[in-house]
């Protein structure tokens, strides 16, 4: 399989896994953004824009801080609010942000998605 096809296949597998975890207790939804397309699945569709902007800004801030403090390639970015948290990371050339309630074990979630 070519590298491009493998990457496409990995993303399809990830999308299937995301579909399987979205019904779990505490999971609010996810945004998976590639260069030409995006998959968005959020329980509250009125928050799509707010969440998309927050996700994009946290990726930028994470990259900036990584260069400032020389922590090298960013594996994950975790953002915690009052009752919600966002786990973001780059998977192949896609940017994934998973939105969840604060009590969700994001480390376990990463393992379940094979992202750990």
């Amino acid at each position: 399989m070519s590298a491009k096809n493998k990457s496409k296949n990995d993303i399809e597998i990830l999308q299937e896994k995301l579909q399987s975890i979205k019904g779990r207790e505490g999971i609010i939804g996810y945004i998976l953004r590639g260069s030409n397309s995006a998959s968005i699945d959020l329980k509250d569709p009125t928050k799509i824009i707010d969440y998309a902007v927050l996700s994009a800004t946290s990726f930028e801030a994470g990259q900036d801080m990584s260069s400032m403090f020389e922590v090298d390639e960013v594996h994950t970015i975790l953002l915690e609010g009052e009752g919600t948290k966002i786990l973001s990371r780059v998977v192949n050339d896609h940017r994934l942000s998973i939105f969840m309630e604060k009590n969700v074990d994001h480390n376990k979630l990463s393992k379940d998605l094979n992202l750990a």
Binding site: F69, V71, H75, G81
Partner: protein, 221 residues
Amino acid sequence: MNEDPYAVALKNALTEIKNICPDVSRSFIFAKDGTIVAGDSETDEKTMEKMIQSFQSVAEKADTIGSLKAFYVNGKKGKVIISNVNDMYLALVASKNVDTTYLHSVTHVIIPTVLKLLETITPTPIQSAPSKQLVVDTLSGFFIGDSVQIDTELLEEWAKLLNQKSVNQVDIEAFGGKATQCKVKEINEPKLKGKGMIRIPEKVCKTLEVKKGELVKVKPA
């Protein structure tokens, strides 16, 4: 950076954190308005300012998840950890193997203890300014943004009291009990200057449940 006793005590607390957790390579504390309160000698002020700017760009957009409590960047060679402690943020850079649970326990005991101690031994909190009662004027239109407007003189007076370059955010409390925090700018209309007014965007007026002509209590955030 502040060099008052408050900042010196916090700087010492940061040094202690480094002694307890050698995995921590850099550390500094900043206020919600972005003012650097205390920092280690390894990190120059310009780097701190750049990091705070990046963090605030996220914080500004984090209303949808409640206020921003923590931001973690896990990198291949290390971690950047920013967490809310009392009314401030503590920024730490640590090695990739740092025990974050232990670090969290240490920092969230040491810093609040130092702050509490300082409040006890300092007759008046260093970072406070009296609130003012101002008359509400509403701002309307598409491009007004979220900032309120206050007289330049009052902003300068507060900045001087707080030993800051400027005041960028204020806490507004309505007499009905509703309160909010907003960015603040100077009143730009000459005929409205010097009248003890606060110009508030309509959206914020709704949040505070106040109308034009009513009084609100305002102080630097």
